[in-house]
């Protein structure tokens, strides 16, 4: 078993939660502030840093960008006593809305940094969806390089995101095109699924002006994996 904490003052409690619906528009920073209040309301025995301005310590894995939903968000909390995880889950859920609920709480045996890949379900409602369009999208994602313009600190840069896409399949469901993909979640090479949509938008020409044409897309984070593709938990 990996030692998660060497400090006897606290234990690390991992919370796996979902963030759906309206909450996709809440930024990561706002989520962090909100979580703190939820934990206070739930009365969990939070551990605070020592010093002049004590703060609780909450660590989140792979922040979700605005406009994406998720059923597998992870947060590590430091608690001063080893409370029953199910009790923690119950108390947290009472203090959240139905769009944000804890699915699992436990004392983990791997570090949160072991999260390496994340799976997404990208649903695209686009006009003129037919076999030919699907093929065009498949071909685009099968290309040897997938070049997108990424915003970086030193301005815009063109990068090849192909190596960051572990797998991507396209299917249809209820009149929508669905891309099931698994992308790198490593902090140094994290790939935001928005880039996959943007690439198709720019190269295949879908989703030109969604409001007027009544088209849309949604992104749902569905599963998390370690580097060896076993489930991260």
């Amino acid at each position: 078993m990996v030692q998660i904490s060497n400090n006897p003052a606290y234990s690390v409690l991992r919370i796996k939660f979902k963030k759906l619906g309206d909450l996709q528009y809440i930024s990561h920073l706002d989520l962090v502030r909100t979580m703190h209040k939820i934990i206070v309301r739930a009365g969990l025995p939070l551990w605070y840093t020592e010093g002049f301005n004590p703060k609780p310590k909450m660590v989140f894995a792979a922040p979700l960008s605005i406009g994406a939903e998720s059923v597998c968000e992870f947060m590590d909390l430091r608690v001063t006593e080893r409370i029953d995880p199910d009790e923690a889950k119950r108390r947290l859920n009472e203090n959240m809305t139905s769009e944000m609920q804890v699915v699992d709480a436990y004392y983990p045996d791997v570090k949160i940094t072991e999260l390496a890949f994340l799976s997404y379900e990208i649903s695209i409602k686009t006009n003129g969806l037919n076999e030919a369009l699907l093929e065009k999208c498949r071909a685009a994602l099968d290309a040897d390089t997938i070049k997108v313009v990424k915003k970086t600190k030193s301005g815009d840069a063109e990068v090849d995101i192909k190596p960051l896409i572990r797998s991507a399949q396209i299917r249809t469901s209820g009149g929508e095109m669905v891309i099931d993909c698994t992308l790198s979640a490593d902090p140094s090479s994290f790939l935001n699924p928005e880039y996959v949509v943007k690439y198709l938008k720019d190269n295949v020409g879908i989703l030109s002006d969604p409001i007027i044409t009544n088209e849309w897309y949604s992104i749902l984070r569905t599963a998390a994996f370690k580097a060896d593709m076993t489930e991260f938990r």
């Binding site: 309301r41 605070y48 406009g67």
Partner: protein, 616 residues
């Protein structure tokens, strides 16, 4: 709220989309099929500002406690979202249900400051609701105005179907109940409802009065058009605040808001009588809450919100007669829970080391005081009963307590003001700096900063200065330049309020019904968010005055005669004109008036009732 899927790309393209989608913890969702009255509470400013407003918090709670009423919240979109809404014809909707504003029965708009008028009307426009009350069809919502600006509702009177004058806890429920009753009985029509509503104490229905003018442009009279409509509308108050409902829960915003904390309203009204202050007059008589009720509310709110800060608010917190008792019992548990106390409205004459220790929070390195004027003469004129020694004693305590930044609020353009009074502001700031250096080095914080913040005097309705004229721009600019030249110390920073904004505010604060076309013209031409630098455009306002043939100087640099009919004479706020006049005369003589705690000055507010130990 249920966001239509095709709007997601709009939401992703605007700043802070989380402020439009709701879904907050403690927000109230009811079944719209079974409630009998749908009430939209609009705050004509952004979500961040509106979510912090205590009035909205209280009224949202009061209305939703009634099972027949569902009250939802509506805020103004920021400019980027507003532009998208116009581009794609997305109607303004309520946060809880996502339903367009036009589908509601009652729409309440909180008027907190004059510059929100354009935003309020632009919100109606974004919801495709006609701006003018007379243009609204039978099935349009009833538009209700309220809040501090409703004490002179006249500049916006023709846009509102009715106003709630005074405290809204009871009135809004009575209006909702009347609506439900008339709908159920089948007697509802817009005009029948408004006529009936005018009988509720604290309700003003502008369309039931005719305003007549004299040939010189001044008001002649207000004439009710039916015999059963009251001649003047008396403000409503809540008699016993301890018994008034207070929210046990708060809607918890996900995004950051301006006062993201628990707010405890300690009392209403004010025992002081600063002669420029509208709040100090219109919120009379003073009514305190007991420390027991406040502590219970604080504990309950802490548990239901998880906030780590409690702010004790009122017009002047140190005047609360049981403050030590209150802070002591709060401190019994707040420290242990890492909850800090803040007291935003301190007066220098009652500031003490003990008080500072109780509220000392590691987060703030500064303290703010409001001497309002630079010389004792000027402070006597405005009845700000504090002395130079009070201020210096307070800053001494602050410096010794480790505070290094002092902010001082002043006003310029006050009645009888001379350049010597302006210089006095600079002199007072300098004395504060000297006070710092008089403290031995080891006992004072490292470094000092004094900021003087000067706003322009606006003669407000229902104050002893309501008849006064406002200084012209050129005079105000001259005063500002003079003050700048009097400041010689680099440690003193000088901020001043834009005189142009104050000029527009004065027109909107003192105007009558003839100002309405100017506001409508502004809104038609896209005005919104005038309270923000991004929204305010002085030249457009001046252009609108010209286009509508309204002379703004009539309401600003012209003083009002004491025998003139004033636009707000239609409202009775408790304090009598006779009292205001006597205070004005005392101001000219430089004579101060003691606080209500010393003795009752007979202002007239006692006739409104209310539990307190002062009013005779």
């Amino acid at each position: 709220m249920p966001v239509p899927k095709n709007l997601s790309s709009v939401l992703k393209s605007v700043t802070k989309p989380g402020r439009y989608t709701g879904g907050e913890f403690n927000s109230i969702i009811k079944n719209k099929e079974t409630v009998k009255c749908r009430f939209a509470f609009c705050f004509p400013d952004t979500y961040e500002i509106g979510m912090s407003n205590l009035g909205v918090r209280i009224l949202y709670d009061v209305l939703n406690k009634d099972e027949d009423v569902w009250c939802e919240r509506v805020y103004a979109p920021w400019t980027d979202m507003r532009d998208k809404m116009r581009e794609y014809s997305i109607p303004l909707s309520a946060i809880e249900s996502g339903d367009p504003l036009g589908e509601f029965d009652l729409v309440g708009i909180s008027l907190q400051y004059e510059l929100c008028y354009t935003t309020a009307l632009a919100m109606l426009g974004l919801a495709n609701i006609p701006l003018w009350s007379k243009d609204r069809s039978e099935d349009a919502p009833i538009i209700i105005g309220g809040g501090p600006c409703a004490y002179n509702p006249e500049p916006v009177a023709d846009f509102f179907d009715l106003f709630n004058i005074g405290e809204g806890e009871e009135v809004l429920l009575e209006i909702s109940h009347l609506y439900i009753k008339m709908k159920e009985e089948g007697t509802y029509s817009r005009s029948a409802f408004l006529r009936e509503a005018s009988h509720i104490e604290g309700v003003y229905v502008p369309s039931l009065y005719r305003a007549e003018y004299n040939s010189d442009g001044t008001l002649k009279e207000y004439e009710p058009i039916y015999f059963d409509v009251p001649r003047t509308v008396k403000k409503r108050i809540i008699a016993d605040l301890d018994k008034a409902p207070y929210p046990e829960k708060l809607v918890m915003p996900y995004t950051e808001t301006v006062h993201d904390r628990i707010v405890l309203e300690v009392y209403r009204g004010c025992i002081r009588g600063c002669r420029f202050c509208q709040a100090g007059m219109v919120y009379r008589p003073i009514r305190e809450k007991s420390p027991e009720v406040l502590c219970k509310a604080a504990k309950c709110l802490y548990e239901s919100t998880g906030y780590d800060e409690i702010s004790l608010i009122s017009l002047s917190i140190s005047d609360y007669s049981r403050l030590p008792e209150l802070t002591d019992s709060l401190l019994e548990w707040t420290d242990e829970k890492r909850v800090s106390l803040s007291l935003p409205s301190l007066r220098v004459d009652s500031f003490s080391e003990e008080l500072m220790k109780k509220v000392s929070s590691v987060r703030t390195a500064g303290l703010t005081f409001a001497p309002e004027a630079g010389t004792q003469r000027m402070r006597d004129v405005i009845n700000k009963n504090v002395t130079e020694e009070d201020l210096l004693r307070s800053v001494r305590i602050a410096f010794r307590g480790g505070k290094s930044n002092i902010k001082l609020y002043f006003m310029d353009g006050l009645p009888t003001e001379t350049l010597d009074d302006i210089k006095g502001i600079a002199d007072l700031a300098k004395l504060v700096v000297n006070e710092y250096f008089a403290i031995p080095k080891p006992e004072r914080p490292h470094g000092i900063g004094v900021t003087i913040s000067v706003s322009c005097f606006i003669p407000k309705p229902f104050t002893p200065f309501q008849w006064e004229k406002q200084d012209s721009f050129s005079l105000l600019e001259q005063k500002q330049a003079h003050l700048r030249s009097c400041i010689t110390d680099k440690r003193i920073k000088y901020n001043y309020h834009d005189a142009k904004t104050s000029f527009i505010e004065a027109v909107l604060a003192r105007g009558d019904r003839r100002v309405a076309p100017v506001i409508a013209y502004m809104v038609k031409n896209g005005a919104m968010l005038d309270a923000w630098d991004e929204g305010f455009d002085f030249d457009k306002w001046m252009d609108a005055f010209e286009k509508c043939g309204v002379d703004p100087a009539f309401y600003t640099t012209r003083g009002f005669a004491t025998d003139e009919v004033l636009p707000w004479d239609i409202i009775d706020c408790g304090v009598t004109k006779k009292y205001l006049l006597s205070e004005r005369e005392k101001a000219y003589r430089g004579v101060t008036t003691p606080s209500c705690a010393e003795h009752c000055n007979g202002c007239g507010a006692n006739k409104l009732g209310g539990n307190n130990k002062w009013c005779k």
